[in-house]
């Protein structure tokens, strides 16, 4: 079993994430899509580490991707909650002003 199946899976994950990010109008759903995209990237890192016989650096990168994804989710969701308190909506199109 080579690297191809992993790349296929990760590209499907990536495309799903992109679809979610584009098609959804709910901000939290968009964050779900971002998580999928980041997962696809981390999966690629680990897969290339295994099959290209590199050293363990890919795993470290995957770790940092997970870390950044968690931080991004924390801050993003805080913004969503604040936005909801201001606008009573988490519809992406209601975010029309930088200041309210």
């Amino acid at each position: 079993m080579g690297i191809i199946p992993y790349i296929v899976v990760s590209s499907i994950l990536f495309i799903c994430g992109i679809i979610v990010m584009i098609a959804r109008k709910n901000i939290i759903a968009i964050l779900l899509g971002i998580e999928l995209v980041l997962n696809a990237a981390a999966l690629n890192f680990v897969a290339f580490t295994k099959f290209n016989n590199m050293n363990i650096d890919g795993h470290v990168f995957a770790l940092f991707i997970i870390l950044v994804a968690a931080a991004e989710a924390a801050v993003g969701l805080a913004i969503v909650i604040r936005f909801f308190q201001v606008r009573e909506s988490i519809h992406i199109d209601s975010a029309t002003q930088l200041q309210s």
Binding site: L32, E35, L77
Partner: protein, 183 residues
């Protein structure tokens, strides 16, 4: 053992891809979140088939135990309707940089410490090649060695990043009592 690998890969890949597709096409946001949970578990299974057990366990701990719970909480916090009008300016009355003397001292001390450590380590006291690699056989130990030798800058900076995320998100999400909005 190639057959086990195939079976586990197939199951995990189906879980991951099916979960991702379901996220894309779910009608209910909570359901989408649960499908995302499945997708993440599937990706963890894929990491296992790649021999990256530490990354898989991190995926479980951080995503399943952390991010998904955070997402569910956020959905519950925003899912209801008819909250009365709140008009505040994102609650940011003063910029978070405007600290007092103690915060500056703490910041400077931290920065100096960071610089000292980095100078100490980067000036070649250890590098990954200097460590006898054969003594660190498992992936966890190899990752640990990498984190304290080659990637020590990223390791330390990541703590600062997380500190920033914590402080920033706490400032943004911190609730104010309604007395503020009445004023």
């Amino acid at each position: 053992m190639n057959m086990f690998l195939m079976i586990i890969f197939t199951l995990s890949a189906f879980l991951a891809v099916g979960g991702a597709l379901s996220v894309a096409f779910a009608k209910n946001l909570i359901h989408a979140c649960v499908y995302l949970l499945f997708s993440l578990i599937g990706v963890a299974g894929l990491y296992l088939t790649l021999g990256a057990e530490f990354v898989a366990a991190t995926q479980l701990v951080v995503y399943v135990g952390g991010v998904v719970v955070l997402l569910l909480f956020a959905i519950m916090l925003t899912g209801g309707s008819n909250l009365h009008h709140v008009t505040s300016r994102f609650g940011l009355e003063s910029t978070p940089l405007m600290g007092n003397l103690r915060t500056y001292i703490m910041g400077i001390v931290t920065a100096l410490l960071l610089i000292a450590v980095l100078c100490n380590v980067l000036q070649g006291s250890i590098s990954a090649s200097a460590v006898v690699e054969s003594k660190f056989s498992s992936t966890v130990e190899q990752i640990g060695v990498k984190l304290v030798t080659d990637h020590i800058l990223a390791f330390e900076i990541s703590s600062v990043l997380l500190l920033g995320a914590l402080v920033g998100a706490a400032i943004i999400a911190r609730p104010y009592r309604s007395s503020e909005t009445e004023n």
